[in-house]
Symmetry: C2
């Protein structure tokens, strides 16, 4: 007698298949145009080509004097030369004078180069005596001058469609004077917790009951992805309420995530409700922890039922839901991982994807420091498993053993 049969799981699908099935239902979200002050953490939905050069004028890289380089040739510590100062320019102001041989213009960093000038003599090699400049160094044409387009060239592809905008990139958009940009709309994701044992924090804690954890961790994980969560609350095993909530989620959001309705006890109810409202596509995925997953298509939207165990719900969020949200945003799956040596041997099961929570520790002396990944295992019912871990190692379906001191990639939380 196999447990899988007993629990009513069909053929388990792989994590890869599960993600594909969900992504086939969830489409990329629509575009919208936003002003640049709303651009942070948004995903570009257009290529950004600069229509200006940055800088768009020649400017001084130093405080000093704009000169004709050939006027300075021969100057040295032992052989001073002189020029006539005919004007002074500071950043933002353009000199109306054109430089002729024997003349120079005092200039500050960032100011536009005067017409005729081809180099800047740094202030520290000069002495100013009223309108006479005495200097002790020669400069070559182009010295201390920032060229037009040296930072950004007009017509160049600056940022690609699908780029997630951070403060440095919103800065790049500012540098070319962008006022608005086309970005992906922010995905809206509904979160629902189910189970007769689950109560919200305002209820009395009786024997057999536990406080809802998954709503909090899932909603906050969605916020951390800069998406908009819709909190549908906690529902017991009440068919009609469950149906109403799922329909509300489907109508108001792009994706519905439910926790706790896919394991024994409540699975029958969830399956029934889901089949009545739409199409059940997956029941059970080949991952550990986190096997009891239900995937369904309801009114054209994706419904994902996650396990009720907090650790499993959250690990499935990281390895399955997060990549799906990324693809809704047209973002390439990008992982922030570090390499570390495994602290001990880990046995895994062929055909099953495994999520291994680890804590990172540094060991060894300076210069020979090593990063060690120490598996954290308190069981999937324990919320503190996740909170004491720094990240996780994904063990694919074809790996049976990870050896002690084997190099692993740790995805950081």
């Amino acid at each position: 007698m196999k447990k899988d049969d007993k629990q009513g799981f069909g053929k388990l699908v792989s994590l890869r298949e599960a993600k594909k099935i969900i992504s086939n239902i969830t489409k990329e979200v629509d575009d919208e145009r936003v002003s640049l002050d709303k651009a942070l953490h948004r995903v570009l939905s257009e290529d950004i080509v600069s229509d200006i050069d940055v800088p768009h004028f020649r400017k001084s890289a130093m405080d000093g004097f704009a000169v004709i380089a050939s006027d300075t040739f021969g100057a040295s510590n032992t052989n001073s030369k002189e020029l006539k100062i005919i004007d002074k320019v500071i950043a933002g102001i353009v000199s109306k004078k054109k430089l002729k041989k024997g003349e120079c213009i005092e200039i500050t960093t960032g100011a536009a180069m005067p017409e005729g000038a081809d180099a800047v003599l740094m202030v520290e090699y000069t002495e100013k005596e009223k309108d006479k400049l005495v200097f002790y160094k020669s400069v070559a044409p182009g010295d201390n001058v920032i060229k037009i387009g040296s930072d950004v060239k007009k017509g160049s592809l600056l940022l690609k469609r699908g780029t997630l905008l951070d403060p440095r990139l919103t800065g790049v958009l500012s540098s070319i004077g962008k006022k608005t940009i086309l970005v992906k709309k922010i995905p809206r994701i509904s979160v629902l917790s189910t189970g007769n044992e689950i109560i919200s924090a305002d209820k009395e804690l009786e024997i057999g009951k536990i406080y809802d954890i998954n709503s909090r961790t899932l909603i906050d994980s969605i916020k951390e992805m800069h998406c908009i969560p819709l909190d549908l609350g906690v529902v017991g095993d009440e068919e009609e309420v469950l149906k109403k909530k799922i329909i509300e989620g489907v109508e108001k959001s792009d994706l519905v995530i439910m926790s706790g309705g896919s394991s024994l006890g409540s699975e029958d109810l969830t399956k029934e409700v889901v089949q009545e409202l739409g199409e059940l596509l997956v029941h059970g995925i080949a991952v550990k922890p986190g096997k009891p997953v239900i995937i369904a298509k309801i009114k054209g939207k994706a419904f994902i039922g996650l396990p009720g165990y907090p650790t499993s719900a959250l690990s499935n969020f990281h390895i399955m839901v997060k990549p799906v949200i990324h693809s809704m945003l047209g973002l390439k799956e990008e992982k922030n991982f570090v390499e570390a040596k495994l602290a001990r041997k880990i046995a895994s099961t062929i055909g099953r994807y495994e999520f291994l929570a680890v804590k990172l520790e540094r060991s060894g002396e300076k210069d020979k420091e090593e990063l060690i990944a120490v598996p954290v295992m308190k069981g999937s019912s324990a919320i503190t498993t996740m909170s004491t871990a720094d990240g996780f190692v994904e063990i694919d379906e074809n790996t049976e053993v990870l050896n002690k001191r084997e190099s692993v990639k740790v995805s950081l939380f």
Copy 2:
């Protein structure tokens, strides 16, 4: 003739001193009580001690049958035994029956253990025939039972004051039924851009003018730290407007950051304004890039004048302003860094702290993969320097040379 004298910088202070001087003015922000749905990314201002055990009742870790372990002794594949099924419990429901010898109660994962039971027999080793259970395995007392307090012990210190709350930690707070928590208020930080050459994106781009970049990168960096930015806009070298804006910033926020008013050209004006409004404490810090920094105390608040160059303004934000904001929140300075080998030799200057933007590249074969830090240098005027880098290496005042292939710590953006 030294440049420093010429530019009117006093004795340059070290980065460490500069941070200390600012931190002496900025105090830790006040506390406030928030509900748990507002807890994400906030900093705890109280120790969290659990006043319940998690779980607070013995529960089953498996789907199966709650038994008295001694009733199962001797059962095996070749020697089945039997028990009478007297009840069924699912998660959230408590059995009213007390187990006696020869009896068992069907139970689902997460359900409360019935009185008298001391172990759970997993469903896969059993066969159910009406109210008779036939089974082929013995269990020891405690098998498949989750003990009271195994995840969180009542009275234990769960989270410390000063902890930054992520989704896993808000989940931990949920697990003990916290409704509200004491956290640090969110710091409010004013941002002002100055310089006659700086224009906002709605203005015409003339020769000598450049679009404002620093407002965007600084405001978005503040948002990324989950603080509240106050955008004071762009001000030219107009004394009265500058004064008004700085006073507005000081009155409405906990910290005022200005960019562009501390280098030659506008420095005199800024110094004058700052000295009139308060006390000038620092003019010039020993870092590269980013030397021209003004630190002042105005009406009891800290004022930080950063360089106008986008790269310098942003690098100073990372190495100086960010740690100050962390200390306003009572957060320990925590760095997210990776180790990498430097791609080439870097010369630095004794007595000067250096910020080196680097791009990370992977090289070598699988299992022998190395992370290489490639210095990115387009000059501090180039906004694209930062946008093409992945992080930065900090070279302290006592280091003259970093050798090629030397191991360096790269702080990630």
